[in-house]
Structures are given as structure tokens and as C-alpha cells.
Symmetry: none
Subunit: 401 residues, 2 copies
Amino acid sequence: MRLDLIRGLAQPADTKVLLFVLDGLGGLPLEPGGPTELEAARTPHLDELARVGTCGLHEPVAAGITPGSGPGHLALFGYDPLVYETGRGVLEALGIEFPLEPNDIALRANFCTVDADGIITDRRAGRISTEEAAPLAELLDGIECSGAECFVRHVKEHRFLLVLRPDQALGAAVHDTDPGRPGEAPLEPRALDAASEPAARLMSSWLKAARERLADQPRANMALLRGASRLPEWPRFGDVFGMRASATAAYPMYRGVARLVGMDAGSVPEGADSLAAEYRRRFDDFDFHFLHFKPPDKAGEDGDFDRKVAAIEEADRIVPALMELGPDVVIVTGDHSTPALLRSHSWHPVPFLVHGGAARNDDAGSFGETACAGGALGLRRGRELLPLAAARAGRLAKFGA
Amino acid sequence: MRLDLIRGLAQPADTKVLLFVLDGLGGLPLEPGGPTELEAARTPHLDELARVGTCGLHEPVAAGITPGSGPGHLALFGYDPLVYETGRGVLEALGIEFPLEPNDIALRANFCTVDADGIITDRRAGRISTEEAAPLAELLDGIECSGAECFVRHVKEHRFLLVLRPDQALGAAVHDTDPGRPGEAPLEPRALDAASEPAARLMSSWLKAARERLADQPRANMALLRGASRLPEWPRFGDVFGMRASATAAYPMYRGVARLVGMDAGSVPEGADSLAAEYRRRFDDFDFHFLHFKPPDKAGEDGDFDRKVAAIEEADRIVPALMELGPDVVIVTGDHSTPALLRSHSWHPVPFLVHGGAARNDDAGSFGETACAGGALGLRRGRELLPLAAARAGRLAKFGA
């Protein structure tokens, strides 16, 4: 509905919009009254953008909801993550950049341990190491099932990706086989609708073959399947906002989410400087640029406050190079908060700034959580940022007469 | 859905609510750090209402969306403009106060130029002048189509209103005939559902007759039809809020939108003083009064910052006369922003104040965009203002036990 509204109002303009995402940007003070990571960081260039531009806070999904990377980015792309939900299997495929085709059914899979009666004794096969698990995933690759090609790709430790490529389009609404606790047998794949019966049968026969191939393994002697899903058919970003969209990211997951909405995604080595160089290279060919910078999130997940501060400062240093190209409207924000204090993603609102285009002033004289809480753009849903930027870029016509 | 909630809670009270709309009130500074039009204006009476009352900002439709006058006012009346959409034909009829009847199908029409092969060479007939177009509209009035009366009223330049009044109720879901660009023939009227087939046929036969009557014209030799629509059947304001509602406006469009939700609309000459006089005259007979003051929007559209400042000051001068009558709750706001800087409506949030009834204080000591950004009522959707005012007026009961 909202994307339909935007699509109906989008109009051409000769303007460029930059979305610079510092992954996990939002933080928390280590002690009451102290600065957050962003507030502790020395960020003269971001502070200047905040001073000249307008600030606010956004909640990517909803109040109290901690976003995963997929929903966090979809919100920043203008897609309500509660409407545009991605299956876990598809997200797993995006994360390792497996080239999914439209009919593919992707599943997130775990190695597990079952006893002689087929009862699960360990749902993660004793958290088997990557070194041990990777050859077993290879062993499972290429199992033949009648009516579909089957691909297996190892992801990490006990996790792998299973992709079924059937001869024709099938429903993918099949219940997970993981019962959620040890002491029970894996569940049989159960179709949730008639169109998904063939997919359930494919999963059953694949599981049977997999168990045979793993029979001699001491720990990883069975697999559990979750999140059967196909590539979603969503409105394309370019059609909705009328902008040729580019995504630049060092990590496959973020390129994958950008591709889900039809962006042209390019890979870069890690580090802010390569991001800036790639932005320069691609600048002319696109109207919208999404740049993804991962290090603040990683440092936050590691609970390393100082490293997160340093990562934010690294991002700040490339701001002049980004601005030099003359984007008309710039958003700087995160896809969610990752406070070092919590060592994880969190539900806390994420600071954002919008620079360029017709705007009012506000009192935010630096870029930080407290300053943004008093910003003129208020506290909003993440999906509202891109319409605001598109409006400033002269790309949205009037609604109604 | 939301209106159902309000309707279920509305309770009688001996209180009066005033909604004073300064059209296009929200503005922008001409240069960074400067005042907006409202901030530059000397408005001692509005400042006093803001100081005693509570302030905030509202987005009439959604983030980044620039509202037309219709959606902007519906929001202020408590109606979500994304739910209560009005067809363009109906809005055109409201704008010239054509007395639409329930079965009427209203269309926004343009004169256009077609070549000998019927291909459009100019979609606006060379932006033909009002003087030239008005007699041609008269020429088209009274074309006879079997099964319907047909009315044509000139609006402005190349624009006119076509109203089909069929013998019985017909569907009005017919596609526009304007292909959107020259170089193509006008589209045939195409029904979007079975119930609208007769209306499409009526439009076809009207177009055929119109083309014959215009055959000798050098420029305006054909018509394009858009926005086929009937009077919507919406909940009536009086039923929802339990208030007898009066609208006072100098321009027909605003009386028309008020009538769409069932208000009793009265006309006044332009100028704030006549608005105040009419308010006094109608005060006792209604519980809710909507006063519409157009000049700030017109000055904004003309890009005239100083004239917009003067218009706001003119509105300020009648505030004592309005307050003298003793309305219990007063809202002062705009239906959208019209910054002189942009010479058009814009998406920027609109300042508002609510005065009267039980309320907390806030720091907004004057009425302006920056002060309202820090107001206690926050940043909200436009449709939330009227429920707030109704609550303060003691007109909404408790929800749930």
C-alpha cells in the first residue's frame, strides 16, 4: 500500500541520493551519563552534516523490536519489514551469495546427532567445527532426487544451505523438521498447503539420502531443515522510487538484500576507503547509492566499545570524499543499534541525519543519539527515511488535488 | 477503522471546538538559520495561545508526502487521507461548487489538440486562455447522450468539468483517456469492472459528440477525460464526533471538502475580518467550527515570503475576536506547508497548537516551526489532532473497562 503510494507519486529528477549505512550504528553508554560509541567518536565531518542537515531517530521495525540485518535494511530501502518478510532459507542463501533462481527452494539446514532409534541427542551436532563440517556438506552436495537438482553449501560450523531446484515451480510452504528440542525424532516435512506437497516429498527423499550418506558419522549423522522459502516477488526499488539504484557492500548478505529489491549490487574489499573509491566509480551511472560499512556492528557484537568508536571514526574520514561528488541528498544512519554494552543487535532507536534539499534547521549541532533525540525529524519508523529523502530530492509529486 | 473507534467513544458535551486553518502555514527559512514565515511574523495572539496551550508538528498524509488541499483538510477533520481518497473529478466539481448528486459521475477534462489522424499534438491545447476556452465549454454543455444528462462547466484555461447524470446508479471505475503524452491517440474509455461498462459507453458517446462540435477549432478540437468518480459515501463527521459541524471558507474547494464529510458550509468574502464576523454569527448553532483562511498559501505559492508573513499577521489579528466567544478548545494549524522558498505545497511537517481543556505545559513560548518541534504533542499524523481536541473538550469516553 505505502509502496503503491510512492510509486504513484514518483517523478523523474536529475538528482542523486546517497544512503550511507554504518551497520549497528546506534549504541549505549557504558555507564549512566556517559557517551555512546557515536558520541565518544571524533566525527567532525558527520557533525558538520548534522549541523547543516536535519536529524532524528528511527525504529527500523517497531518499538521494542530488535531487527535482524534483513529487516533493518529493507526498512532503510523504504519497505515495511513487517510486510516484506524474507524466508530464512533465502536469507541464508543471500548470506553466502548462492545464485538463487526463481523456482529454487532454499532451506537453512543444521547438522544434528541422532541415536540408533533416530531420536535427536544434539540439535547442533556438538557445535561441530567448520573444518569438520565443510567436507560433510560437500558429501551431501549433489544428492539426486527425482524431479529436482539438489545443492548443498556449507555456511559455518553446524549450519549449511540446502537448495532444491525443481523442474517446475512448486509451493514452498513446508513446516520445519526441527522439533526445537532434543529427545524427539526430527519431524517429517509437512506441507502447509496442497501446492507445497511436492516440495515436502522432495525434502523427505533428500533427508533419507542424507541420513544414509552420514550414517557412519559419530556426531553429524542427520540434518534438520528450516525456513523453506523462495525468492520473494516484491516491487522493485527502481520501479517504486524511479531511481536507478546501486548497492556497494563488502559482505554478501547486504548485496543480497539489495538484490532482493532489484538493486545493482557491487562487491568491494573491506574498509571505508574502498567504499569511497567504488562510490566514485559508480556515481554517474546511478541515481541512488547505498553504501554499506560493516565494522561498527562487528565491534559492537564483540562488545568492543573502543573498536566501535574507531570504526565510526574510519567512516567519518571518507565523508569529504563522498560529499565531493555532490550528492543532492544524503542519509547517514544505521540499520539497527548494536551497543557494545549488549554485545548484540538491540531495539534502541537509531540516529539518522538527512542533508541536502529544502529543510528546516534544528538544534542538532553534532551527530549522536542525544542530539538526534532533539532533532526536528523526530522519532520515526525506518521506512520513512527514504520517502523523506526522495521528497527532498524533488522526486515525489503532490498527493491529491 | 479509526473513525469507528471515535464514533464508539463520542459522548455529548456542552463544549465548542474551533479549528482555525491557515492554509499552507508551514514554511522554510530563506537561508540556513533564518526564520520561517511564521517565525518572522509578529503574532502576539497566536504566541500567547501557544504559550498557554500545547504545541507540536503534524504530517498530514505521511513522511515525505506533499498533500493536496483535499487530503490535507481530510486529515485535519480526522479522516486518514490514504483511506478516504477522493476522485479527481469530484474534487474538480467541489472546486467550482457544482452541486453534485449521488449518482453523478464527475470527470476532470482538458481541451487538447489532435491532428487529422486523431493523434494528440498538444495535451493542453496550447494552454488555451480562459477567455478562449470558456465559450467552447459552453458549446459542449448540454450534449445529449442516451441514458444521461451531461453537464460541462469551464474551470480555468484548458480545464473543464464534465458531469454525467445517468438515469440510474452506475459504476464509475473507468480508465482515464489521457495517454499522458502527445504522439498517441486519446485512449478509449475502458471500464475497470462490469458495473462501470455503461459509464464507459456514455463517455465514448459524449466524446464522439464533443469532437464533432469542436471539429472547426484550430487548437481545442478534442477533449481528454480523467478521474471519473462519484461522491464518496463516507462516515459523516457529525456522526463520528457527535458534533454539529460548521465550515466557513471564502473558496469553494474548502467548503466542498467540508460538505464531503457532511459539514454545513457557509461562504464568506475574502479576508480575516469577515471570517471572524461569520464565526460570531454561526457560533451558537454549532459545536465544531472550521474556519479556513487562504492567503498564506497563495503568498507561499507566489514565492512571496513577506506577503505570507503579512497574511499570517492578518490571521493573528482576529484571534482575540475568536477567543472572545469562548470556544473551549482551539486548534490553530495548516493543512500542509507552502514555503515561499519552494513556491509550492511541500512535505514539511506543519506546526500546530491546541489551546483549552486539561493539558500539560510545554516549552513552546511562541508559535513557530522550531518551537513546535520541541512541543509536548510531538510529531504526529494530521488525523490525530481532532481526536486530541475532542478529548480535551470532554467529548470522548474511556476505551475499555
